[in-house]
Structures are given as C-alpha cells and as structure tokens.
Amino acid sequence: CVPATVRTGADASLLAGQAAHEAALAAEPDWRLQGRLAVSAGGDGGSGRIDWVQRGDSYDIKLSAPVTRASWRLQGGPAQARLDGLDGGPLAGPDARRLLADATGWDIPVQALSHWVRGGRAPGQAHIEFGPDGLPALIVQQGWSVEYRGWTAGPSPRPKRVFATRQDASVRLAVDAWEAP
C-alpha cells in the first residue's frame, strides 16, 4: 500500500528547493507525457490513455478510451482552444476548460494542470506541503488539492501519479513516460 507521506510544512529550505525546481521547469517549456487519465465529476466520468504535448503556453492533448478507442483532442493556448473528435464535429472557444466541460462534462483545469503535472505550482497563491524526500506531497491552489504519489528518480524528478480533487470533481493522472516533444 502507499506509505503515508509525512507532510512537513513549507520551511525556507524546502521552499527554496521548490523554487529551484520550478525555475528548472520554466527552463524546459516544451515537454510531453504519455499515460492514463481518469476523471470524475458528480458521479459521472471516464478514463483513457492520454498523450499531452506542451510547447510553452500551448497544449495538444489527446485522450483515447480503452477498447472502443473513442477519442478526443484538445489543442490551443491561453486564449483559444479547439476540441476535435467528438460527435457533432470540432468545437472552438476562448477557454479550454469550459470547452471540454461543456462538451464532455469533464472538468480539467488545463492551464493550471500543465504546471501541477510536473510538480510545480501554477502562478498565483498556493499552499504547499512536502514529503520526506523534500518533493511536493500536496499543492492546494485554485480550490484544487493536488496530491503527488511517487516521483521518477534522477536529477529532475517528475511525478508518477497526480491526484487532483476539488469538491466532488477529481482528475487523476498516472504518467507512464516523460519525453521531449
């Protein structure tokens, strides 16, 4: 079972470490992750394979459901988003989160998640707690509680599993591979 991480408050050295980690992330604005995503909101939801390519502020997220391979693709940047693959053809709008929520009922805070998924805080006020390894165990931001369960080894660790919850909504990611795009 998952060892209960001992969460320590954010003291100066841990915060300094996190700032250094986030600076390193900022220096690597283009990345790609492949893994699995599960979303739940008010009792409904779903899961599938996710392939997320990020280049600076713009994202290209593909999700495919198992067996049936029902799939959608969300692309865009801070001010415009496009959703392909759903019945009724492509959709576009200024805000990716709203576009996806309106079309699928799934609430995924795409902008903030692009920071959280690499273990960094999104811009703005945040509460952070660290595990015994000095890496974030919990980030609370924008009403979401983001829990980190396991990290890759090595000099620039990346989260293996990220569980974000907000009231009765949850977004869970298991990352199988981190790559350059």
């Binding site: 409904d44 391979r69 029902a70």
Partner: protein, 197 residues
C-alpha cells in the same frame, strides 16, 4: 473467404480465450502505445479484456454492465452494457449474428497470408471508431484493426486461441475493490423479492 472463416471460427463456440498484443499508431504512423494481456469471451454478452503490460487495467462486461478498472488511478468507470455493446467489434466474436446487424461487411482481398473482413458501422454516430478490419488465417482470427475519429489506428494481434475453455467462477463478474471511486451509470437493480422461507 474471410466470412466463412469468421463463421467457422465462431461455429460451436460458446466461449473463447486468447492472448493479445495491442499497438496504437498516430496518423503519421508513430507508435503511441503498446500493451499486452488476455481476452476472454463467453456468449452471448460477456467478455473480459485484461491489460497486463505495461500497466494493469481490467475491462469486464458482465451482461448488464461494462466495468473499466484502472487500479493505478483507483477508479472504476461503469456503463450500462447495452449502450456499450456496439462499441467494439469484440461483440462480433461472441455473437456473429451481430455482425450484419451492426456493420456493413465487405470481404477484403487476401493479403499477407490472411483474408480480411472490412467492417463499417451502420450507425457511425453511435460508434467511436470509423472503420475496422478483421484478419483471419487458417486457424482463426489473427488481427483486429480499428481507426478512430482522430485517425489513430489500433491494431490488436491475437494468439493462443482456446475454444470453449472452462472459465473460473467470477471471470465475468466485477466488484470494485475497497477505496476505489466508482463513476458512471448503473442500471437500476431489478426489484428482488426474497422467497418466503
């Protein structure tokens, strides 16, 4: 041709099991995902699709519901099976009469030692994949290929077919483990009246 092989493959078969290897390719051919596991089917509507590598995932159709369990994500998605039914060509394997009901079937040409059946969903708007192909060789179904709305191509290769194996109890049943979040919709449980003792 392939149709006869499908019919022969399914004849007298009330259940089957096989190993599978699945590869998903992007429109440009890049390999996006490869996974492997086991498939079990039992007429008329039960199946179990279990991914073993590179991550655990279990999909069970128990005749009423389809359960999709991602242990790493501690979540189960449940759907009413009738809605999911036309979601996968797998249903054709268990019940070949479904074939013509769900798909337009075109006998393909022989290629790389196999005869092919091309399937186009009769109700495209209800089917998540745009087209599928089933490839047969002398001893049965070898390949199932599907292409989806994003142009991604999924190829599933089967091996080690077992005909009418006896399945362990519970193969086609699913109970969410404690601590697992269950999302989706369930059919209303039928009113069960206990027999008077």
């Amino acid at each position: 041709g392939a149709r006869d092989q499908l019919d022969a493959f399914g004849a007298g078969m009330t259940g089957m099991a096989a190993d599978f290897e699945q590869r998903v390719h992007a429109p440009d051919g890049e390999l996006l995902e490869s996974s492997s596991g086991t498939l079990k089917l039992r007429a008329p509507r039960e199946f179990r699709w279990e991914v073993v590598q590179p991550f655990p995932q279990v999909i069970v159709a128990d005749g009423t519901h389809v359960w999709i369990h991602d242990p790493d994500l501690e979540q189960v998605t449940v759907r009413i099976q009738s809605l999911e039914e036309q979601g996968s060509p797998l249903s054709v394997l268990v019940d070949p009469s479904e074939l013509d009901r769900q798909f337009e079937v075109v006998e393909g040409v022989q290629s790389d030692g196999m005869s092919w059946l091309a399937l186009t969903p009769r109700k495209p708007e209800e089917s998540p994949f745009e087209s599928a192909r089933l490839g047969f060789d002398a001893n049965g179904l070898v390949v199932m290929e599907m292409s989806d709305g994003l142009g991604q191509r999924t190829e599933v290769r089967f091996s080690g077919w077992q005909r009418n194996p006896d399945f362990d109890a519970g193969t086609f049943a699913f109970t969410p483990p404690p601590g697992t979040e269950v999302v989706g919709e369930m059919a209303q449980a039928a009113e069960v009246m206990p027999l008077a003792d």
